[in-house]
């Protein structure tokens, strides 16, 4: 985590032109960053096609979709910074192309050339090694043009994960404002506090709609462990009733999929709900999060 604090990962958030509206939920495109945050218990959901196996949905690749709570948790703990892009991106690309298209093309050509040279070198070396293994002393001069042509046609043009074009845009500085928009658009602060509390108890959360909850919580990396709990949306349990049907449904389903059905809620201290700000959250010790679990006893 300390390493991440020194070099926080970049989370992309695309917002509208006036920055008053979040257009896309938080995304990460860099595999190294994805690996780094996984080590501190933020898994997100990969959602892009894996070029290696394009006809299945189990193993996917970048981009990583983050739950809003995950993104905010990373930010508050200093492990991530938001890189906010004002849209519409297509028109910004157009502007960029109008002024610098020649230069951009040159840049990409150079990059491609470099990559081709490296690939050629590598392939030739491989070829020579292979020949040596077979006991044939390869003469580079003979038939070189032929094999070169072969190598030429097998060169790989890669589509990169992360953007070069967007480096040309001036980046907007980030305030807590964007976080408020994210929360307003996709979740609630109470849900975030539940997330935070569970994360601090070393649970790893992932989206829980398929089990009828807000999160499902794993005791460790979901790659290796079963999840233990289905966590419901935060309940203001001092004021809100629990629906009997929901209680039965949640507990029944939870029991059949071997998970505990958990209701969490925040007891608000002296503070009004509305003055939740990032600063307050950082200092926050007043909000008291409690969890209740329901199990189908099957008694009698």
């Amino acid at each position: 985590m300390d390493g991440l604090k020194q070099k926080p990962v970049e989370i992309k958030v695309f917002v509208s032109e006036d920055a008053n509206e979040v257009i896309l939920s938080p995304l990460i495109f860099d595999i190294a960053s994805i690996e780094a945050i996984r080590k501190i218990g933020i898994t997100g959901t990969l959602s892009g096609t894996l070029p290696l196996a394009t006809q299945q949905n189990l193993f996917l690749s970048v981009p990583l979709k983050l739950m809003v709570e995950e993104a905010i948790w990373l930010y508050i703990n200093g492990c991530a910074k938001f890189s906010v892009m004002n849209g519409p991106i297509s028109s910004r690309f157009s502007e960029l192309l109008d002024s610098q298209s020649e230069q951009l093309e040159q840049e990409s050509k150079l990059r491609l050339q470099k990559s081709f040279e490296l690939q050629k070198k590598y392939k030739q070396e491989q070829h020579i090694l292979k020949m040596k293994k077979l006991g044939i002393e390869s003469r580079i001069d003979k038939g070189a043009s032929e094999s070169n042509a072969l190598i030429e046609s097998s060169l790989f043009v890669r589509t990169s994960d992360t953007s070069d074009l967007m480096n040309h845009f001036s980046n907007q500085q980030i305030s807590g404002k964007i976080i408020n928009y994210l929360v307003a658009n996709y979740s609630s602060w109470d849900n975030y506090l539940l997330f935070q509390s569970l994360r601090e108890q070393n649970y790893i959360m992932s989206p829980g709609a398929r089990f009828g909850g807000k999160y499902i919580a794993y005791p460790g990396d979901p790659l290796n462990y079963h999840s233990h709990m289905t966590v419901r949306n935060a309940l203001d349990y001092y004021n809100e009733p629990i629906d009997m049907l929901e209680l039965a449904c949640g507990a029944r389903l939870g029991t059949t999929v071997k998970k505990l059905w958990v209701i969490g809620g925040v007891k608000h201290g002296n503070r009004e709900k509305s003055d939740r700000t990032v600063q307050n959250l950082l200092l926050n010790k007043e909000d008291d999060v409690s969890f209740f679990s329901v199990e189908w006893a099957g008694f009698g």
Partner: protein
């Protein structure tokens, strides 16, 4: 170490739940060394909870290593020889392929007179993501020479206009990866088949049908309640004593008014035409037409889709789960292969022909439409495989006659009009099938007479 070995040797139990089975990235990582993924790797098993042992930590470490090895060693792109270039055009939010080739052309994109292929944005991102095409961006007129300014995956995602579009794309690519043929309904450029004679719905939707439906529905309910109250209620007791339970319950049927689910061609068409032009919210429109994989897909004039999909993101605060009237609107705007319709026995055609004569392209019956387009473009000689398939279809003629009782149970179970609701939760999609069931008018009484006949 023994633990590792045991884990590796344990056969995978296919009965385990989705979540119970870990995604074993180590198997897919091996694929990066070999050439092509023919079979999906089996998945490993999970443990209950961390117990603080080194062996577990090693297992986690290995699992992660495998996962990220697979990710980093799976580059996107194509070799120079088979590279297909696609240029994104910001002005129309589509991509153009000046020199198109490849299998995907059978089901995707549309060509212009110059032979260039246009791809919808979903198609563009999907193909680029799997490495089939190389994405570039081109600004300005399409007649200007293209510059090769490459787009990255990140750039392409940045070009999504809204969360809605991104969600739709996730559903789109999920279905595409499964092998379905998918077209977005709002961007369709093809002359899609329709179940309804006039596709110009708005023109027909003037005041009369609405008033008509209001009137009829008024009379229906009124007559029912009026009639029942006066004549039935006082006699219920008498019925009970003298005639037995069956007539009583039959009459109860009339007391409780219920929505009559459309089951026939006429009913579906009528229901569709009386649908008020109430605009559903953008997010609750039918987003995709989905076809099962097929050889003879006609990109320009596809037949009725097999499924229709509505996408709903459960996390967006401004959206709500569809309520009853939303559902009704969706049901009435459905236009797919209503698979519950029974082909009448006296029709001497196979299923394909029957559907062709009961669907419409641009307002004219599909079989006529197809014939007219065929004369323009001489039909490609069908391959051996196609002929085989056609023969097969013709051969599977004899329909099994099912007992009416079994048929009734089936109808009750499967329901009638249906669509798929894709519930989106941060990249995890749950597909829910929503069906109109008809429990209101089905009479499931055991009647001795019928039984005796048998």
């Amino acid at each position: 170490m023994s633990k590792v070995k045991q884990l590796e040797e344990e056969p995978v139990n296919s009965d385990l739940e989705e979540d119970e089975i870990a995604n074993d990235w180590s198997e897919i990582a091996k694929l990066s060394a070999t050439k092509y993924a023919a079979v999906l790797p089996k998945r490993g098993e999970k443990e209950y909870e961390p117990d603080g042992t080194n062996i577990q930590e090693l297992l986690v470490y290995r699992a992660r290593r495998a996962m990220f090895d697979a990710l980093t060693h799976s580059p996107r792109g194509a070799v120079l020889k088979s590279q297909i270039k696609a240029y994104y055009l910001p002005d129309i939010h589509k991509a153009i392929l000046p020199n198109p080739k490849g299998n995907f052309m059978q089901t995707m994109g549309y060509a212009d007179s110059s032979g260039a292929l246009y791809l919808q944005f979903y198609e563009f991102v999907y193909l680029a993501e799997r490495g089939t095409i190389t994405p570039y961006i081109h600004s300005g007129s399409i007649s200007v020479e293209y510059r090769d300014i490459p787009l990255s995956v990140e750039d392409m995602y940045a070009l999504f206009n809204s969360q809605n579009e991104l969600d739709n794309y996730s559903v789109y690519s999920h279905l595409k990866r499964l092998g379905f043929i998918v077209q977005a309904t709002d961007m369709s450029t093809s002359a899609k088949a329709s179940f309804f004679p006039t596709s110009v719905k708005k023109a027909r939707l003037n005041v009369t049908p609405q008033i008509y439906s209001h009137l009829t529905s008024f009379f229906k309910t009124h007559s029912l309640t009026f009639f029942n109250h006066i004549f039935y209620t006082p006699y219920i007791d008498a019925f009970k004593r003298n005639i037995g339970a069956i007539p009583l319950y039959k009459s109860l049927n009339k007391l409780i008014t219920c929505y009559d689910v459309p089951k026939t061609i006429e009913a579906i068409r009528k229901e569709h035409s009386t649908e008020r032009s109430r605009e559903t919210e953008q997010f609750l429109r039918i987003a995709f037409d989905v076809w099962k994989p097929q050889v003879n897909f006609k990109k320009k004039s596809p037949e009725l889709p097999d499924f229709q999909v509505v996408v709903y993101n459960k996390n967006i605060a401004s959206q709500h789960f569809p309520n009853y009237s939303d559902f009704k609107t969706i049901f009435n705007s459905l236009d797919y292969k209503f698979d519950f319709l029974k082909i009448p026995d006296d029709v001497d055609s196979n299923e394909v022909e029957w559907w062709d004569s009961n669907t419409y392209n641009e307002g004219i019956p599909r079989y006529m439409y197809l014939a007219s387009t065929k004369s323009k473009h001489s039909k490609k000689p069908s391959s051996q495989q196609d002929i085989k398939i056609e023969r097969k279809m013709k051969r599977q003629k004899p329909k099994k006659s099912i007992s009416p009782r079994l048929q009734q149970m089936r109808d009750l179970k499967n329901g009638y009009r249906s669509f798929l609701l894709a519930v989106m939760d941060n990249g995890i999609i749950s597909f829910v099938k929503i069906v109109e069931a008809d429990f209101g008018s089905q009479n499931v009484w055991y009647s001795p007479k019928q039984n005796k006949k048998k």
